[in-house]
């Protein structure tokens, strides 16, 4: 199970890459394995404000639906345009081309509440 050490994580299987005041968010390798082939992603529009812990959308495989929860609060500044036609990127490259969205972080202090790679690895074991 791939758990990159440079990322932060939530217990609900989202990952976060913090670069300055921007956070890139996606779902982990563990999540995509559990879901199976992902066929559809429902994401918010650019400009939407999110609160930490709020459901921001969902990921669907053929037989399941999973809500995605915002790891941090902030404004959506980018939504991955490739996922509409290529939802399989979430399975194949969940930390890279399969990212979900980017937000402008509202409260940097919320980053500290996220799990590091070791803590997340313990959660999924």
């Amino acid at each position: 199970m791939n758990v990159p050490s440079d990322l932060k994580y939530t217990a609900s299987h989202e990952w976060v890459r913090v670069e300055g005041d921007t956070a890139t968010i996606g779902i982990t390798d563990y999540a995509q394995t559990e879901l199976g082939d992902i066929v559809y992603v429902d994401l918010p529009n650019v400009g939407r404000s999110l609160a930490a812990g709020e459901s921001l959308g969902s990921v669907e495989s053929v037989k399941t639906v999973s809500d995605i929860y915002a790891p941090l609060g902030g404004e959506v500044v980018d939504v991955n345009p490739a996922l509409g036609a290529q939802s399989e990127l979430l399975n194949g490259d969940p930390y890279g081309k399969g990212y979900l969205l980017k937000i402008r972080i509202q409260n940097p202090i919320e980053v500290e509440a996220l799990h590091d790679a070791a803590a997340y690895t313990a959660i999924i074991s």
């Binding site: 082939d37 066929v39 559809y40 495989s61 053929v62 037989k63 939802s87």
Partner: protein
């Protein structure tokens, strides 16, 4: 005994059989004067891309399709929670009688006394079997019956000034998906109540969940685990004490027919699936037939018209119901299905009715006992009319899932049982034999499962590749979603759509 692969011609799409100029029925010929269609109707439709196939070819087409479809008359369906019992053929004859099939629902009531009498008798028999004071047959399916009951509950609370404050429905975590879906359709929020380790509703969690925002509890009894809720009377008391109502999801009525009655358990209303318990045919996914039973305090809110006996015992339609929730369907319900159910109920009558539940429960416990060494039951208790087993061991030790076991059963000539429901049992396999299966059939089924569990250990690839005996193997369901293809299209482009202003 494993099936040999089927040598069956893959059926063509009807559109590929079409040839210009053909027709497959001798439709009525007009003997009234010809008219100019444009004068009569205005601008006419130009293109109509329907097939043109001769009558014999139409029949061959559907015969070919029937050869690649499984039904109860083909073989056993061990589907938990579906009650796939024999659909008596005499029911087809009675439902086909011209005096039933040829009636218009809006013709005057005094021209259809036999139809109204039939509806009334079905209601009366179902009242007696369910233990409720009133029954309506207007709901068209189980989920529709659930929604109707929830609407009655909402109307009841509104009549007491608590409609807005009571906006939560409690649903066990083992519930069928229609329960929360129906609650949402009735404007309710859903709060989940856990099941305890014995397979019963967790009474402490229920007590915590019962506050004055709760409108009702939806409970399936026996539960979706096939277990009777021993604390049912207490649960109903608790819910009533909190000012809420209790709804019985009657999907598992087959365990109870003639042996016990949900009305006596304390429920305020229930839905029945006549296409499960009372043998009306499933027809590939419907019609369903969803009667509901209610206690007297919910009667004022029943859908209109109410079918009831008048002073002279003749049946009348009561249209003047000021507190009614209105109509849930356009007419009286699935009438020709009621004819089938009525025929079925009379075939059993007083003498045989309780044999249904007695033999349904016998069959389920027999299957559970025969399989206990290969597929343990999820709970160590007698089951009712269905048993829930778990294949978790095979997943952990051999990488074989309940799904794989099910697909391999197809190669042994059986329809698979229910998988992955209820959600709270891992690798669940739910088996409901019904009372119409012989011991031989059950033995053959159990022998097949035992053999397959052996294969799971020794030759798991046989399960992963299954089924290999049908016209298709496992289908690419991901592609079915991603490359959505839900209709045939004519090669001619359709007329341009006017988007309007």
């Amino acid at each position: 005994m494993i099936q040999t692969p089927k040598l069956v011609k893959r059926p063509d799409l009807i559109f590929d059989l079409s040839r210009e100029g053909r027709v497959g029925a001798n439709v009525p010929v007009a003997d009234t004067p010809e008219v100019d269609l444009t004068t009569e109707l205005g601008e006419l439709r130009k293109e109509l891309h329907l097939p043109e196939v001769g009558e014999l070819d139409v029949l061959r087409h559907f015969t070919a399709l029937s050869h690649v479809n499984y039904g109860i008359e083909t073989g056993f369906y061990p589907l938990g929670s579906c009650t796939m019992k024999y659909n008596p053929r005499i029911n087809e004859r009675t439902a086909g009688l011209a005096g039933f099939a040829g009636l218009h629902p809006m013709q005057p009531a005094d021209t259809v006394p036999g139809a109204l009498e039939l509806l009334m008798r079905v209601q009366e028999i179902l009242c007696e079997l369910s233990g409720f004071e009133y029954v309506t047959l207007q709901p068209l399916a189980g989920a529709h019956g659930e929604l109707t009951c929830l609407m009655l509950i909402r109307a009841y609370h509104e009549s007491r000034g608590e409609g807005a404050s009571r906006n939560v429905i409690l649903v066990p975590d083992s519930a069928h998906g229609t329960n929360p879906a129906s609650a949402a359709r009735c404007g309710y929020q859903v709060r989940s109540i856990p099941t305890d380790s014995a397979g019963n509703t967790d009474l402490d969690a229920l007590a915590k969940g019962l506050d004055d925002s709760v409108a009702g509890l939806m409970l399936t009894n026996p539960s979706t685990l096939g277990l009777f809720e021993p604390n049912i009377a207490k649960i109903c008391e608790m819910v009533h004490a909190a000012g809420a109502q209790v709804f019985c999801d009657g999907a598992n009525m087959n365990a109870m027919v003639g042996t016990t009655r949900p009305g006596d358990h304390g429920f305020d209303c229930m839905h029945l699936n006549l296409h499960k318990t009372f043998s009306t045919p499933h027809g590939g996914g419907g019609p369903g037939c969803g009667a509901i039973g209610v206690k007297a305090h919910l009667e004022p809110f029943l859908p209109v018209p109410v079918v009831r006996r008048g002073v002279s015992q003749s049946v009348e339609l009561d249209e003047h119901r000021p507190h009614s929730i209105g109509r849930v369907s356009a007419y009286y319900g699935q009438f020709l299905m009621e004819v089938r159910a009525y025929t079925y109920l009379l075939a059993y009558g007083k003498e045989y009715m309780s044999d249904i539940s007695r033999h349904a429960v016998l069959n389920a416990n027999y299957v559970m006992a025969r399989l206990k060494d290969v597929l343990p039951a999820a709970f160590d208790r007698p089951c009712m009319h269905e048993c829930v087993l778990t294949a978790e061991h095979y997943k952990k030790e051999h990488g074989v899932r309940a799904l794989d076991i099910s697909k391999r059963l197809i190669d042994y000539g059986f329809h698979p049982p229910t998988n992955y429901f209820p959600l709270i049992v891992h690798e669940a396999i739910m088996i409901e034999p019904t009372e119409t299966e012989t011991k031989q059939t059950l033995d053959a089924f159990c022998d097949a499962l035992i053999a397959i569990c052996g294969e799971a250990v020794a030759h798991p690839h046989l399960l992963h590749q299954a089924p290999t005996s049908q016209i298709v193997g496992r289908l690419d369901e991901t592609a079915a979603v991603k490359n959505l293809d839900v209709r045939w299209r004519p090669s001619v482009m359709p007329p341009k759509v006017e988007a309007g202003k």
